[in-house]
Amino acid sequence: MSKHIIELVDVVKDYDGTEALKGINLYIRQNEFITFLGPSGCGKTTTLRLIGGFEKPTSGKILFEGVDITDVPPYKRKVNTVFQKYALFPHMNVFENIAFGLRIKKLDKNLIREKVSKMLQLVNLEGFEKRSVDSLSGGQQQRVAIARALVNEPEVLLLDEPLGALDLKLRKEMQLELKRMQKQLGITFIYVTHDQEEALTMSDTIVVMQSGTIQQIGTPEDIYNEPKNAFVADFIGESNIIDGVMLCDYRVKFAGCEFECVDKGFGINENVDVVVRPEDIKLVSKDESPLHGIVRSVIFKGVHYEMQVDDHNGYSWIVHSTRMAPVNTEVGMYIHPQDIQIMKKVSAV
């Protein structure tokens, strides 16, 4: 596989006694689209700022192409950042904003003009050179911010929740556009977001973080289908998370019923978390499955119905199905062995 462009080794970041990052180890491959995903305060933005050079780690090392850059100031790093609130220079027009980095490098005037207009083309803002940044819409400012960073041809582009301020439709458009640019330019994107859908749509690799630690690293499919623990399962998409007991290999008991599953290697009678995605539950007649419950509510969601089904032990299951079962009817729920995720209980959290 391709080489590691950035590596974080035992990175700890301490803000006045509170640990924002508790020893992060991570490598980022060249040309991948990697996303730090997690709730606010999980340390994802701090990690990005460390890579950008705006913060220094309390301990640990940051390597760039194998070279230690922990103490290198931001202006000497080969990365560029798209800031959360764009941070466009209000005293400059669109052209000057994008040309900022090139002017500092003292490039030839014609070359600057050429590069800027190429960038404007890339972000679909041709003809906006003379406009003042205040006169642009949020989406346009966003594009200028991206162009301003990309025009410097960084090896790594850092994006700190760049789509947070845009409305849903624009956000979806920009997600696809960012992905397109990343493929077209072939550079590494490091993306920070708290929006799991955004992460799943764009990333090659997702790093799920919580309270300063990495919970799981993997492809979107891995993270979604094989969450490592209850936190990841809960954060990525909707999940039914229920206490269970591993009876032996390939046998698990939860919700008062025994199920076949595909997991092994747990202790006999070990307490585990069982995760089942709402769309993996099939509604059947109550004789066809040992697990049944009463439908409490039905919400139409467009593609599917979302139903709440209470089983006899009092657990409320969320079920997504294109078939609708009327409220107050008793239904059976069938779960395929492959769709039952067994996870070790996380002791500390």
Partner: protein, 274 residues
């Protein structure tokens, strides 16, 4: 419903203490008393243009200009330190800056007299360590010092408040795009602080060019700036007509320079100084 009546006391105040006096000054400047009767004349303005008075005017502008430059050179770094990240010692610095303003302006200036006097504190210290005494009081240096001392907060505070409002992420963005700290200052911080600089310059230059107390106390009774000239016309020579004419010219000059400043500010916001 508009509650315009709440502004009536202020409007009344303005009429009595600003508009009426202004009209009186205008009236006096265009008239003179001849054989007990008042006649219209431009004589007063012609007199202002005499070389003696032009020299006084020029001198006032030069001294005020020097004071403003010194205030800017001293004040900008202070404003930057104040606006910096470190919160703990900031309040003390602001306090030190503002405390002198709580004392009466005259008292502060008198204090400088005792410091700068031939037998004052500075010369005593110099004498004690065996150095020759220096002539400090009643010089241009003393007047400029007095102006800078009195008007410095008016330079620092507007710059400080503009600097404090600059979004930190703009500075980070500039660093991210390859600027070292000097370039960040040159290309981002300073251009963005220009509105504060402009109002600081205005707030120092205007009172400095018209001052008469500082020049009288620290420059001596023979020291003549435009403010002293006007004061003399009203308080000693009793030539109110001539005094009014100088005042009018002074006001026009101030309005003009303010106009230029605000125009420059608007242009500066677009392009930057460098």
């Amino acid at each position: 419903m508009k509650k315009t009546w709440v502004s009536y006391p202020y409007i009344l105040w303005m009429i009595i203490f600003t508009i009426v006096p202004l009209l009186l000054v205008l009236y006096y400047s265009f008239t003179k008393t001849e054989d007990g009767s008042v006649v219209f004349t431009l004589e007063n303005f012609r007199r202002v243009l005499e070389p003696t008075y032009l020299k006084v005017l020029w001198r006032s502008v030069v001294l005020a200009f020097i004071s403003t430059v010194v205030c800017f050179i001293v004040g900008y770094p202070v404003a930057m330190i104040l606006a910096g990240k470190d919160m703990s010692d900031k309040s003390i610095l602001v306090l030190l800056l503002v405390v002198p303003m709580w004392m009466n302006f005259l008292l502060r200036t008198y204090a400088w007299m005792t410091l700068l006097d031939r037998k004052g504190v500075i010369n005593s210290i110099l004498g004690a360590i065996g150095l020759p005494q220096v002539h400090l009081l009643y010089t241009d240096f003393a007047v400029i010092l007095g102006m800078v001392y009195n008007f410095l907060p008016f330079m620092v505070l507007p710059i400080y408040s503009v600097l404090r409002k600059i979004d930190r992420s703009l500075i980070e963005a500039a660093e991210d795009l390859g600027s070292d700290s000097i370039t960040v200052f040159r290309k981002v911080i300073f251009p963005l602080s220009l509105p504060g600089v402009v109002s600081g310059i205005t707030m120092v230059f205007m009172p400095a060019v018209t001052t008469f107390i500082i020049s009288k106390l620290l420059g001596g009774s023979q020291y003549m700036l435009i403010g002293n000239l006007i004061e003399d016309q009203f308080m000693r020579v009793y030539d109110w007509n001539f005094g009014s004419a100088i005042s009018i010219i002074m006001m026009v000059l101030i309005l003009l320079s303010m106009g230029i400043m605000t125009k420059y500010d608007k242009e500066g916001a677009g392009g930057g100084l460098f």
